[in-house]
């Protein structure tokens, strides 16, 4: 007798195959979002507000309602949607440039208002789609196409820690930093997304799950080396774990 132990989430389009670069973790995160919403029985109410950049490629994979916000404006667009359709389960899907550079005002202000939606923040320390430019989260010494000699604090400032920055605000209900480099971390990420969604359904307000990931293409590494870099360097700068849980 066969026993079904795994099925693909209906949160992804049937048959869609990830076109993300090898070693990129966006595909995994997309799957986890679908699974979390599905486990909560909320797939029919799920709304995705997509950032610009590699995040925007998600439009080819997700099966639920989605809109693409202007670069950096996902939290503003999500504010408009949630206020007008409070029964929808809304998440923004944003990268580091989108959320922490061009969209910093929108991110901070939505978090400060305690808007009742969830931010999925994928932090790989670099601009992906535009070709590896320096992001607010680029590590010191890390080379990018706009910091060819490596990021220098005196010139470029220091990496920004968005979870910790939002933790200075009173309103956010839940902030957690995870990754997807091991099965344990993948499960932790799914649980974090699910918890954030659950809090939203309970009307508890703003939550963010920051997922620290790799970008082998723009880091100029093979996929295995990028995992080492992720664990050695990125986790050192961006330690994984719970930042705040006021649920």
């Amino acid at each position: 007798m066969e026993k079904k132990v795994y099925s693909r989430t209906n949160g992804l389009l049937p048959g869609a195959v990830s076109g993300f670069c090898p070693g990129c973790m966006h595909g995994t995160v997309h799957k986890l979002i679908g699974e979390a919403a599905e486990e909560l029985g909320q797939l029919d109410h799920l709304v995705r507000v997509e950032g610009v950049g590699c995040c925007g490629l998600g439009q080819f994979y997700v099966s639920h309602d989605e809109t693409i916000a202007a670069h950096g404006r996902a939290c503003a667009v999500a504010t408009g949607i949630k206020r007008s359709s409070p029964e929808s389960l809304i998440y923004t899907y944003q990268g580091d440039g989108d959320l922490a550079a061009i969209g910093l005002a929108e991110t901070m202000s939505a978090a400060n208002r305690g808007e009742n939606f969830t931010v999925i923040f994928v932090n790989n320390g670099i601009y992906g789609m535009t070709g590896g430019q320096m992001a607010p989260t680029t590590l010191l010494g890390m080379k990018s196409t706009t910091s060819p000699g490596g990021r220098v604090a005196e010139e470029h400032g220091y990496p920004m820690h968005m979870c910790e920055i939002l933790d200075t605000l009173t309103a956010p209900v839940y902030l957690e930093r995870t990754s997807c480099d091991t099965p344990q971390h993948v499960i932790a990420t799914r649980n974090a997304i699910k918890k954030a969604f659950k809090y939203q359904l309970e009307g508890k307000g703003f939550s963010m799950v920051e997922i620290v990931t790799s970008c082998p293409t723009n880091w100029g590494m093979n996929t295995l080396d990028s995992l080492d870099f992720l664990r050695d360097k990125m986790f050192a700068e961006y330690p994984l774990g719970l930042i705040r849980d006021n649920g």
């Binding site: 209906n10 949160g11 797939l43 029919d44 109410h45 799920l46 709304v47 507000v49 439009q59 997700v62 099966s63 639920h64 309602d65 989605e66 809109t67 693409i68 916000a69 202007a70 404006r73 503003a76 667009v77 999500a78 504010t79 408009g80 949607i81 206020r83 007008s84 359709s85 029964e87 929808s88 389960l89 005002a105 929108e106 901070m108 202000s109 208002r113």
Partner: protein
């Protein structure tokens, strides 16, 4: 008949929006339109609507985009330099065909300009309110009553074409008070049925297989198809032209004007007509789509001169007029800007100068 009430332009705009079914407003403070968000922050909660004070104009217009993408009637307002920051969200709404309504209570420009009234944003409103060459219907009220009527109508136009609609007014009409008759309040049932029409594409969450998407850009050949479809819609907008031809039947002189300036011109025409001067006015009530044919048909055998009256230096609407006007009709300008207000006397003097020159 409904009772007339004495209202300020900005507050009349806000109340008309609520009566038209607006249930979401986002905006950022800027003079001279602050009464609109202030009024909305009091009024919307009374009707179950939502008011958000955005952290910037950029955030506000993107909140508007989000709200309208759910099918709710949504509006924002700002002024000139703030409207420049709206271009991102307006362009997105035009591309994704999201029915937003926004109001520009114009002030002097360019730059931060003057906080006093002007009509300095004509080109921005009619030619390029954002990147990408999209077009919008732009309504230009000249009185508080027209503010009310046009804002009410703007929501229907936005819904009909699933396209942004701009109401372009100025700090005079916005801050002055006048008697107005307010339109009927749309009922919750009417609003629910209007929202239903948009539901198939509303970004609210649909069962798997019925996914709604709202994209202000497509990869591959998709974008060209979107643009071709939009262009076909713009081509069909002749039916949306609204133009007032005032005392034009026997006119030898014609004024071209819109908004606050046109209302001043009308008073001057009334005065000059009593002296037997044959003068009329062509006033686009909507400056986009522009009534080119009305100007094109002017016959130089009959019309001896045209005076373009705008609170803008340099003149802006004049280029739309000249684009089609018979070259034998001389065109002169009567202009103010930078927050200096047009007066009856100034228009009257400009007409008398034109008479000396051409009659």
């Amino acid at each position: 008949m409904a009772e007339r009430v004495f209202m300020k332009g900005t507050e009349a705009i806000a109340e008309a929006a609520v009566r038209a079914g607006c249930r979401f407003f986002a905006g950022y403070p800027i003079t001279p339109q602050n009464e609109i968000p202030e009024y909305m922050s009091r009024r919307l909660p009374e009707v179950g609507g939502q008011f958000v004070q955005g952290e910037s104009e950029v955030a506000s217009v993107n909140m508007l985009f989000g709200a309208a993408s759910t099918g709710i009637r949504a509006m924002s307002s700002s002024s000139s330099t703030g409207i420049s920051l709206y271009s991102e969200g307006v362009s997105f709404s035009a591309s994704a065909r999201v029915p937003i309504v926004y109001v520009n209570v114009g002030r002097g420009g360019p730059g931060i300009g003057a906080i006093q009234p002007a009509q300095q944003d004509y080109n921005q409103a009619t030619k390029a309110s954002g990147n990408g060459g999209f077009r919008m219907i732009v309504l230009a009220p000249s009185s508080v009553q027209e503010c009310v009527d046009m804002v009410y109508e703007a929501f229907d136009l936005a819904a009909k074409y699933e396209n942004p609609v701009l109401v372009l007014t100025d700090g005079v009409v916005g801050t002055m008070m006048e008697p107005v008759i307010l339109p009927e309040m749309k009922t919750d049932e009417e609003l629910a049925s209007l929202r239903k029409k948009f539901e198939h594409r509303a970004i609210i969450g649909h069962p798997v297989g019925k996914q709604a998407v709202c994209r202000a850009g497509l990869m591959g050949s998709g974008q060209e198809n979107v643009n071709i479809k939009a262009a076909a819609m713009y081509d069909d907008w002749d039916c949306e032209i609204r133009v007032e031809e005032y005392m034009m039947d026997d006119a030898e002189l014609v004024i071209a004007s819109y908004g606050i300036s046109a209302r001043i011109c009308k008073a001057v025409i009334n005065k000059l007509r009593k002296e037997g001067i044959k003068i009329g006015m062509i006033r686009p009530e909507r400056i986009s789509p522009f009534p080119y044919d009305t100007f094109a048909k002017l016959d130089p055998k009959k019309i001896k001169g045209l005076l373009d009256v705008e609170m803008s230096i340099p003149a802006q609407m004049i280029w739309d007029v000249k684009h089609v006007l018979n070259k034998d009709i001389p065109v002169r300008e009567c202009l103010r800007s930078g927050g200096q207000l047009m007066t009856n006397n100034q228009v009257e003097n400009a007409v008398r100068d034109l008479i000396k020159e051409v009659l």
